[in-house]
Amino acid sequence: MRIYKRIVITLAIVTSLVEVVMGQAKKPTIMVVPSDAWCIKNGYVLEYDNQGTKIKVSDYKRAVQESTDLLLVISKINDLMAARGFPLKNLESSIKTLESEAAESAMMTSKAGSTISESPVDKLKKTAKADIWMQLTWTVNQTGPKKSITFNLQGLDAYTDKQIAGASGTGVPSFTAELPVLLEEAVLSHIDNFNSLLQAGFDDWFKNGREIVLRIKKWDSFDGDLEKEYGGAELGSQIEKWVSENTVQGRFNTSDATENMMLFEQVRIPMIDSNGKALDARGWGKGLQKHLKDTYQVESKLMMKGLGQVTIVIGEK
């Protein structure tokens, strides 16, 4: 009886450990940012001339430094999301980290005098990152002495450009309430509906796979193209076959394909691989990279963008 009890307890511990170690998918990072519309309306923009065309870019740094209302809303949302067990990346802190990291990298040298190597692509990638943007817009409506807030919170998947959650609406007009009070009320009114849609989005990921984007390109040094035959079929078709076999229920769209490039969208990859390890676009893309090398002796370079975008450039590393 004692031995039986011990076996049961050991089995229970092992099972829970396996669940803890193997059952966790990669957690997406979320960050609240003001929308371009809000930044432009409130004058937080950087303007530059791009070959004769005036381009406006949101100036997040100035927005968080100067707009206390924005800080209040971001802080309130961060607060409420942390209470739901989903702490968010903070925009202001991310900007500061990026700046200090850039300064440190510029100053850093080894004992022998070497500097940190950085390609132009590395430089381009130095922006605030998140897997999901919580994009925030509000406008103050004034009718005579009455004020109300129209509030819009959008959850945008950074890699598929899809809106996966959202909540919007106009609050009750008030004669007396100050703007920060109306804003706080708007956040409290809308955050639960936003989160229930976000939860539905996550449930969909776990059921049907995380949606990612896969791009295939080729270096001009590559001897051949995606129409060259490998193993009795064009390389492009072989890639398509691998994608079909390695997606949840074979779900993907080949949105574009030429002899030089392919674009796969709505590619549904499992959240956890067959070994129980959390999977992201990079880990999944590595499988394709290995398949190309092992089966067709084709070298390739793999580049990633967050959890959800992967680019494989065929020909060399």
Binding site: K26, G85, L188, S189, F202
Partner: protein, 160 residues
Amino acid sequence: MILLGVNASSCQSKKQVNKDTDNWRYEIEAVNTGIQGTYLIKVWSYSAKPEVAIEQAKKNAVHGIIFKGFAGKQGIPGQNPLATNSSIEKEKSSFFNEFFMDGGKYMKYVNLSNDGSVAAEDRLRIGREYKIGVLVSVNVTQLRKFLEDERIIKSLSSGF
């Protein structure tokens, strides 16, 4: 004898309103944005005895927040139910039977506003019974946390 009769009739009313709750016979109306972590709602319940309906409003409020959600009105958004799985009520029936029993744990997450006083326009006589509208504040944050801890609903970060 009279006392026994009154008691039996009260039990009968209680049974009936519990049945009404199970059959979704109540209505929830958005009132205002509550303070952080709470919903301020008006719950309309039915009973032959107004005091039974007022008491049942608490149970209906929590029941509604978990399974039904409620529609919004001008300026106040409605809210989705906490449970996204539509069959959870049947799947976890033993949990919910205990949770919603008279004096059960649901009481911890709900408060009557205005000490349960009912405005004259919220006390309607319909045939042989009353329809009573009671203002109720539900502590949704705590309720959600409890249901997550009991693995009745999933937390936002579950699986990650």
